[in-house]
């Protein structure tokens, strides 16, 4: 099922949580809504689910306008951060709930509901736990049950709100891989919310980066990481360093020296230069480069992170060096960003 969010605005008590958000989700796609808290990602998910109504704009399921449909009519599977399992029901009853509350001929007989519940438990790799109560399960197991429960109603879309947020790191990684497998096996159109960029980039087909109620960028992990389209995305996804520069005649200048990068289409004047600390070319001599004094040097896992003070204003930037690179021993390092981008000065 395709989902289309068209110019949706959502206000809570006059306070806008989403400004004019549009998003196309393809059928069978696994999409991550990524952003810091307060970016509106959960609000967007709840709008798609029908837990909230948009103040303006429309949400389409396929060609059908779902904006005014209730959550029951939308037939979505929703998985909550804190599971929201019914604590007084067994695992099997939890999973069967969505079928049990159906009316008339669409409601399967009790034996069929039990069978479906067992099937889904197999799918989420929890066979044999039918009779347990949620309190007797670990966090990871509860979230699997919650997913099985959401899938029991054969939803058009699967929506997950920070599904792994309440779990510890080890279980998160495990469930992440597992969710990808389930998605590939069942082919549900899936949208999940996360504030964990690693989770989003690793798991999703496409990532929607959000900030302050707006969509900043939509793209694959490669798009987002390699060509961020705003300073926010640069700063939020991965590591980034920035320097205030000047553009003169298509050349980038740092203070009074050109740094050997040309930007023929950039407007004249002040700008901010963004680049990834690991994506730099180290230079020996300096004719057209960025040079700085080593202010600090830290070993971070497989690399060495060096903090440089640049120029008279002692602007600090970070770059990453191979652990055994001789430059790390020097007091001055010269480099030139490999991949970089200019944004207007703030």
């Amino acid at each position: 099922m395709e989902v289309r969010v068209a110019n949706v605005r959502k206000e809570f008590e006059r306070f806008p949580a989403l400004h004019d958000v549009s998003l196309d989700i393809k059928s069978g796609e696994l999409i991550a809504l990524l952003g810091p808290s307060g970016s509106g990602k959960t609000t967007l998910l709840r709008l798609i689910a029908g837990l909230e109504r948009p103040t303006r704009g429309k949400i389409f399921f396929g060609d059908e306008d779902a904006s005014q449909k209730s959550i029951q009519e939308r037939n979505v599977g929703f998985v909550f951060q804190h599971y929201a399992l019914f604590r007084h029901m067994t695992v099997a009853d939890n999973i069967g709930f969505g079928l049990k509350v159906r009316h008339g001929p669409t409601r399967p007989p009790a034996a069929e509901i039990r069978r479906r519940a067992s099937e889904l438990l197999d799918l989420v790799q929890l066979s044999g736990l039918e009779k347990r109560y949620p309190a007797q399960l670990s966090g990871g197991q509860r979230q699997r049950v919650a997913l099985a429960r959401a899938m029991a109603i054969e939803p058009k879309v699967l929506l997950l709100d920070e599904p792994f947020g309440a779990l510890d790191a080890q279980v998160r990684r495990e469930l992440r891989r597992w969710l990808r497998e389930i998605h590939d096996a069942t082919g549900h159109t899936t949208v999940f919310v996360t504030h964990d960029q690693e989770e989003a980039l690793e798991l999703a087909d496409r990532v929607v980066v959000m900030s302050q109620g707006r969509v900043e960028q939509v793209g694959t992990a490669d798009d987002i990481y390699d060509t961020p389209n705003s300073p926010f995305v640069y700063g939020f996804i991965g590591e980034s360093s920035s320097l205030p520069v000047k553009i003169e005649n298509g050349e980038i200048w740092l203070a009074d020296r050109p740094i050997g990068l040309s930007a023929p289409h950039a407007p004249q004047g002040d700008a901010m230069l963004y680049f990834r600390p690991h994506d730099v070319e180290l230079l020996d001599g300096c004719s057209g480069c960025i040079a700085g004094t080593v202010a600090a040097s830290r070993r971070v896992a497989g690399t060495r992170r060096v903090e440089l003070e640049i120029g008279g204003e002692r602007q600090r930037v970070e770059i990453e060096l191979p652990v055994d690179h001789p430059a790390a021993q020097k007091s001055r390092v010269a480099f030139r960003p490999g991949r970089w981008k200019l944004f207007p000065a703030a």
Partner: protein, 294 residues
């Protein structure tokens, strides 16, 4: 359905450090004071109630309980409880639902209002009904014209009882529902349940022990209420006397055995309530709300 064997919540026993504990004699004195106080003010009266009730033997005890007016008082008390407790269950759940699950203007005011019966003297609440429904009252003329008798009749007693017992169920449920939030309900709705199914299968089971606890306290108060009921009842023997009122009448007539026999029933109810309440607290302490003010 079998009861869930949810892991039992052991009350948290904190072993106190040597620095904050009292010396042995100080502890002994404190404990003695507490026990003497309890014995004199609670246990002794309870014993006296039963002793006086059985002062002239079991035969006289049973005889005084089978007196027509006494039986009528017992029936009336049961009737009043049977009407006011269900009403309070409905009101209590509605109020708790509204306060815990929705945001609306005047919510704080409503929350305060629910506690009003606790802060106002029961006699005052009785008097309010007299002012409203009495012959000289606000609605008195209209009621008289339509032949509706509220004051000095069962409806008045029920109204007064509903008023004084209102907070029990609501106050038990509000913190419980607030703590549980809307997550379970949203999950049920997303799975296709309608409002009624969500309430019946999800909300109600989530609060059932808190509800039972509130009902228990509500019932005890409904049967034991004196002040408010006394004002509106009119004390008509065999017609508008509840058990507490009947106890007073019998006692004023120097019928000690009769008075204490009825009182023993009320005391018995109190004991049963206490035991059930303790059992509930032991078993479902963590699921019950934090407010234990009554």
């Amino acid at each position: 359905m079998a009861e869930p064997e949810i892991k039992s919540y052991e009350p948290f026993h904190e072993s106190r450090s040597a620095a904050v504990t009292e010396s042995r004699p100080a502890r002994a004195v404190l404990m003695t004071v507490v026990f003497v106080f309890l014995a004199v003010f609670l246990l002794l009266p309870l014993i006296i109630v039963f002793k006086e009730a059985f002062a002239k033997g079991v035969g006289t005890y049973l005889e005084s309980l089978s007196d027509a007016d006494t039986r009528s008082a017992i029936r009336l008390t049961l009737l009043v409880a049977a009407i006011s407790v269900p009403l309070n269950i409905v009101f209590g759940i509605s109020a708790a639902w509204a306060i815990a699950k929705f945001e609306f203007k005047g919510k704080a005011f409503l929350t305060t209002l629910i506690d009003l019966p606790f802060s106002v003297s029961p006699v005052i609440s009785g008097l309010v009904y007299v002012l409203l429904f009495g012959a000289q009252g606000l609605l008195g003329e209209w009621l008289k014209a339509h032949g509706i008798q509220i004051l000095f009749a069962v409806p008045g007693i029920v109204l007064a009882t509903v008023f004084v017992t209102f907070p029990f169920v609501a106050r038990e449920l509000i913190p419980l529902m607030q703590e549980q939030g809307n997550g379970d309900e949203e999950a049920a709705l997303s799975l296709g349940a309608n409002g009624w199914q969500t309430f019946w299968y999800v909300t109600l089971p989530n609060v059932k022990w808190g509800l039972l606890y509130g009902v228990l306290l509500c019932n005890a108060r409904a049967m034991g209420e004196f002040g408010a009921v006394s004002v509106v009842s009119g004390h008509i023997r065999g017609l508008t006397n509840t058990m507490p009122l009947h106890v007073e009448i019998l006692y004023n007539e120097y019928n000690a055995v009769g008075a204490f026999a009825v009182a023993s029933l009320l005391a018995g109810l109190a004991l049963v309530t206490l035991v059930l309440k303790t059992l509930l607290e032991m078993r479902y302490g963590a699921e019950l709300a934090a407010t234990r003010g009554h």
